[in-house]
């Protein structure tokens, strides 16, 4: 999430609400947008938007803190129980300021629940409890400012709630509660079918993990066989798991051909910082997409321990991995 971009959109919605004629005046609209992007602080009037300004700082701080924490963690106990990045004091202080400024800043509250939880159970329960309230509030704000939209994701005031659910989805996957995760993903896709957050990608991986071929096919059809990197990975692994190796090879060829870098990233898992507050933006069909998809698919791939070994025995896949590795100075 680019906090600044979303704040711009919020400011614009509010301005139009105050002054409907703005919507029909393209020149003034462009001026306003420019100003909102360049110096939003001059346009921010209420606590809700002030909190968004603070949130931007908190998110940047969270990324830095997590990097530091990971550096520290990898230097120490290998048996340390895995838990969400927790108790980042500076991030927490910044988030607390957001929440003080606007108790309904649900992006801040989502992050705060995650970083302050001692265990996955606490983080998941915390978000679960908060969701009811977040949903109600966001719906109210949205009905006030957002135009009638086809999909909840298009309503900018609904997004903090939708993001909160997406983070709970990630946590369920990390806690290996796959059936629960899949149920939540399906609920989310019914709630916001246009799926601006890419929940379907997570769902594809979950269908593969639970060896539900029918479910995976139905999902693929529902989204017009768009051929995301997630879907290619899900299909390759699922067919491999089901022992249909010829079909798996075809799926793997598709993956190697259509998803730049995917073969390399599967063979050599790369680090991606946690999604706070959401999955980074990527260009469809780019190496960025492959990197994210392979990172997210890790839970599926490590659960199928010989999949990568087998994949590297397939000439096209190995060649794609080599080529990408050579071009980008990496090895696997």
């Amino acid at each position: 999430m680019l906090v600044a971009a979303e704040l711009t959109e919020r400011l614009l919605r509010k301005a139009v609400k105050d002054n409907p004629s703005l919507a029909t005046d393209a020149a003034r609209m462009a001026d306003f947008t420019r100003q909102a992007m360049r110096s939003p602080e001059t346009l921010v009037k209420d606590d809700e938007d002030k909190a968004m300004l603070l949130l931007e700082k908190a998110v940047a701080r969270a990324q830095r803190d997590i990097d530091d924490e990971l550096d520290a963690m990898y230097g120490t106990a290998p048996d340390a129980p895995r838990k969400p990045p927790s108790k980042l004091p500076q991030t927490h202080a910044l988030l607390s300021r957001c929440i003080e400024c606007d108790p309904h800043c649900y992006d801040a509250r989502t992050l705060d629940v995650i970083i302050m939880a001692d265990t996955f159970e606490q983080a998941i329960d915390g978000l679960s409890e908060l969701e009811v309230e977040a949903r109600q509030w966001c719906q109210e704000r949205s009905s006030l400012y957002d135009d009638a939209v086809a999909d909840p994701w298009d309503a900018v005031f609904m997004r903090p709630y939708l993001r909160m659910r997406a983070r709970r989805l990630d946590l369920l996957v990390q806690a290996a509660c796959y059936r629960q995760a899949l149920n939540l993903a399906c609920e989310m896709l019914d709630e916001a079918p246009a799926d601006g957050q890419g929940v379907r990608h997570t769902a594809a991986l979950l269908y593969a993990r639970l060896e539900d071929e029918e479910g995976l096919n139905a999902l693929d059809v529902r989204y017009g066989r768009e051929g995301s990197c997630w879907m290619h990975i899900a299909r390759s692994v699922l067919l491999y798991k089901l022992g249909r190796l010829d079909a798996a090879k075809r799926a793997l060829n598709g993956l190697a051909r259509l998803c730049p870098g995917a073969a390399f990233f599967l063979a050599s898992p790369s680090y991606v910082p946690p999604y706070l507050p959401d999955r980074p933006v990527f260009k469809p069909g780019s190496a960025d997409e492959s990197l994210l998809a392979c990172y997210e698919a890790d839970f599926l791939v490590v659960d199928t321990p010989e999949f990568v070994t087998w994949a590297l025995q397939q000439p096209n896949f190995a060649e794609a991995a080599d080529k990408f590795g050579n071009a980008h100075g990496g090895e696997y």
Partner: protein, 344 residues
């Protein structure tokens, strides 16, 4: 359910003896069978047996050495000595009987194949192993009746062969394939002497298929084995029903006296070479072995760290308290023993 080489050797020789001329001295079957244990105890080697029986006995002893002595060895020297000894037994077994299925399985394992190679080897041989076992069973008129394959000792090597297939598939992340083998074998052997139900329970957990697991449990009313208990616990955790998970945890701790230590450390043994590692029902060993085999669930999605489920169990306050109590009890017992020895 676990299998024991020594009892299987006894069963094999009993079956062969019953079909041999030696048995004709007895007036009836009951008299004959009641005389057998004494004969077996007195002079096993003098009983009628084929090279295949001798090979089986050797392979069984080798499996015991790998599953017990090698694992429990204190020094690397002991490990090496036991390994050399058991490997020689496997080679000897295959010299006596090139079709000794247990020896073939163990020998392949000793070559350290990848899981996929091991699985390919087992799948390739499965049909042949079945036919050879059946042929041998028929030769001594001991072909078990349909649906009770485990009643005939000569069919048991095939059960172990298939159990290894199911286990390899479970480890490879091919849960439906593993389940398919288990369900087929549970139909072939209603008594399930090999313990396919335990592997199936873990498959259902991995697939998070509650309905499937409960249908499995219903086939075995009254069986509260540790795998079933753990599967209930895991499934409750996965559906985030912590009350139920805690209930299961407490039930496990009531059943197995050393549950605190076992659940806190969650140690992992190498896979048994003669089916599941041997255990007495309701013993601490049972839980220990079940937890070890459940590593596929406990280590799920955890990278270098322990998984949330594994930590939830090991760091549960009741598990922690039980562990401390068990350890202090064990220490006290050790000191008492030490004290006694000092008195002597």
């Amino acid at each position: 359910m676990s299998m024991v080489p020594a009892s299987e050797d006894f069963e094999r020789l009993a079956v062969r003896w019953a079909s041999s001329t030696a048995a004709k001295e007895y007036p009836n079957l009951v008299a004959m069978l009641s005389a057998f244990p004494e004969r077996y105890a007195k002079d096993r080697d003098a009983l009628p047996q084929t090279d295949a029986d001798r090979a089986f006995a050797l392979a069984g002893r080798a499996a015991q050495i790998f599953d017990h002595q090698v694992i429990e060895a204190k020094t690397q020297d002991d490990v090496n000595r036991s390994t050399v000894e058991a490997t020689a037994m496997v080679d000897e077994a295959l010299k006596l009987d090139p079709a000794c299925h247990d020896a073939l399985r163990i020998q392949k394992n000793l070559q350290r194949p990848t899981r996929q190679e091991m699985l390919d080897f087992l799948v390739e041989g499965a049909e042949r192993v079945h036919d050879e076992c059946a042929e041998r069973a028929r030769a001594v008129h001991a072909m078990p009746m349909q649906g009770h394959m485990g009643m005939g000792p000569y069919m048991k090597p095939y059960l172990r062969w298939m159990l290894d297939i199911a286990n390899e598939q479970l480890s490879l992340g091919r849960y439906r394939a593993s389940l398919e083998v288990c369900l087929k074998m549970l139909d072939a052997d209603h008594d399930d002497v090999a313990g396919f139900r335990q592997v199936a329970a873990l498959d259902y957990v991995k697939l998070e298929d509650e309905a499937g697991f409960h249908a499995l449990r219903e086939r075995y009313p009254g069986d509260d084995n540790a795998w079933f208990a753990l599967a209930e616990l895991f499934l409750a955790y996965k559906r985030r029903d912590f009350e139920a998970a805690e209930r299961e945890l407490h039930a496990i701790m009531r059943t197995y006296p050393q549950a605190g230590i076992t659940l806190a450390y969650q140690d992992e043994l190498p896979a048994g070479l003669f089916g599941h590692h041997e255990y007495a029902e309701g013993s601490d060993d049972e839980l220990f072995i079940a937890v070890s085999e459940a590593a596929v669930v406990l280590d799920e999605n955890c990278g270098d760290f322990s998984s949330p489920l594994s930590s939830w169990i090991s760091m549960h306050p009741d598990v922690e308290a039980a562990r401390v109590l068990e350890e202090s009890r064990a220490q006290a017992a050790q000191e008492r023993e030490g004290g006694d020895q000092a008195c002597l």
